[in-house]
Amino acid sequence: MIISVASGKGGTGKTLVATSLALSLSKNSKVQLIDCDVEEPNAHIFLKPTFTQQEIVSIPVPKIDEGRCTYCGKCAEICAYNAIAVFQKKVLVFPELCHGCGACTYLCPEHAISEEGRGLGVVETGNSNGIKFTQGKLSIGEMMAPPIIRRAKECVDPERVAIVDVPPGTSCPVVEAIKGSDFCLLVTEPTPFGLNDLVLAVGVVRKLNIPCAIVINRAGVGDKKVEEYCLSESIPILLTIPLDTRIASLYSKGITLAEGMPEWQESFLDLFDKIKGLLR
């Protein structure tokens, strides 16, 4: 089973929920955590895994053999992302714009294009107290997160319950991370920002046809509008975590709720049971 943990708005406690859920479940079941927030992966801070494998994620970008090229300009015309420019006696490739679609290589009439890998980041795999841990990490200065997310998700082990930590927002990296999940938990906070972004996140999971439910974090800070929204949209609220300086302090030190306040493990197990119930 794959459960993705998303939020719309950043900093609502998505990683807190994902890591504590993974830890609580790991006592009795086989679990894995996949951190797909590849721009800012943080789950490792809490679960402190030992990494045993690292793989560079690259996309194929064109390499022009100018001995064969006739400067016909076809490749530049084909490329939907303006990653190639052809001049009278020169072909320029802009690798950071290339999506690695392969069209230019396939369609060059002179077979003058081959492909070479361009690294965008890494996927690392390891172990944290029996939890199989995978994270993707985008390199500094790189733009394209989705290929790394795609690769990290290929590490899903069907024998385990997989918890996926999703990046914030509603655009392509989020879709890539949530796609294929059996269930999506949306973590929010009861403020106008939290609500605004929750509504957007619900739009994403509904478009992807994935069942979802809500976790409210820092309950007590803002207003009641998130609860009213959930009620009107019939989205169940499965867990409420209060605003509590002890929790904030644990978080600041990189300690999971499940470890720092073990009484919470019960709540996370209960959360998992409720998800299973909703899927039945």
Binding site: S7, G8, K9, G10, G11, T12, T15, V38, E39, E40, N42, I45, P60, I78, A80, Y81, H99, G100, C101, G102, A103, Y106, L107, L138, I140, G141, E142, M143, M144, A145, P167, P168, G169, T170, S171, C172, P173, V174, V175, K179, T191, P192, F193, N196, D197, L200, G203, V204, K207, L208, V221, G222, D223, A248, S249, Y251, S252, K253, G254
Partner: protein, 288 residues
């Protein structure tokens, strides 16, 4: 004219709340919300939309079932796994057009995407340029560029001094699009291990693109030991810490009322944000 981008790496550090308050404090500026896929600044500034524009960007493939002979070539060449059983998964399609070019029966056409909207609005603190990326759409980087271009155009036309940009979280495509060519990045962080880890990455991005970075530690008293570490770290990186803002629930109280905190209260948080702006303007020295 100076373009100042407010970024954080990690989400939820208080970036938008601070931008909302800078909108009140700063004179002679245009505001731009470049967090186009989860824009929030409008919740503090209650804008009146003056100009609403469609954002067309990218394409999606469509297969005409009548012409399709089910040869399967398109599925074979697609690098994004977007074609299955002779239909295109719109969400996975990246719009490269490879399939449309090679389909032997020309059964595939590429259609333009209406990928969102962008707006020019009036607020009680001046003009706001903002946008809404369509749900699950790509090309947030391009929409960010459109927002910035328009903010710049208005700033120049009206002879204003600053563009203040509320940037997106992360370090990828929309962040780079918000940052490239700007005059300064103001990085809002918090004293948590996650915040510190992400600060390190966003400082890396600023250095990579040669943009001057200033750091503001928000909610600094949540963990003063970590705050101290951030200051040491910034010092070693040659990055200036310009402000420390205490944690106070008054920020959320103001937010619930739809107000920037400086407009709602005159407490410590508001004082610090006012000071922060003086430092950014170069009228007061930074903390270190």
């Amino acid at each position: 004219m100076k373009e100042i981008v407010v970024l954080s790496g990690k989400g939820g550090t208080g970036k938008t709340s601070i931008v909302g308050s800078l909108a009140v404090v700063a004179q002679s500026k245009v505001l731009a919300d470049c967090d186009v896929d989860a824009a929030d600044l409008h919740l503090l500034l209650s804008p009146t939309v003056r100009d609403k524009n469609e954002f067309w960007s990218g394409q999606t493939a469509f297969i005409d079932a009548e012409r399709c002979t089910q040869c399967g070539l398109c599925e074979e060449v697609c690098h994004f796994g977007a074609i299955k059983d002779y239909t295109v998964d719109e969400v996975s399609c990246e719009g490269c057009g490879f399939c449309a070019r090679i389909c032997p029966t020309e059964a595939i056409t590429m259609k333009d995407n209406m990928a969102g909207y962008w707006f020019i609005s009036e607020t009680r603190y001046g003009t706001l340029v903002h946008a809404r990326l369509g749900i699950t759409q790509e090309n947030s980087g391009k929409l960010v560029a459109v927002v910035r271009q328009n903010a710049k155009f208005i700033t120049e036309r009206e002879g204003l001094e600053y563009i203040i940009i509320d940037g997106p979280p992360g370090i990828g495509c929309p962040v780079i699009s918000s940052l490239s060519g700007a005059d300064m990045a103001l990085l809002i962080t918090e004293p948590t291990l996650s915040g510190m880890h992400d600060l390190d990455r966003i400082i890396g991005v600023c250095q990579h693109f040669g943009i001057l970075a200033l750091v503001c530690i928000n909610k600094y008293n949540l963990n003063e030991e970590n705050t101290h570490q951030i200051e040491t770290y910034c010092h070693n990186q040659g990055v200036k810490v310009v402000s420390r803002i205490p944690f106070d629930n008054v920020v959320t109280e103001a937010l619930v009322r739809g107000l920037p905190v400086v407009e709602y209260s005159d407490g410590k948080v508001s004082q610090e944000i006012k000071k922060l702006w003086r430092v950014v303007e170069g009228k007061s020295p930074p903390l270190q």
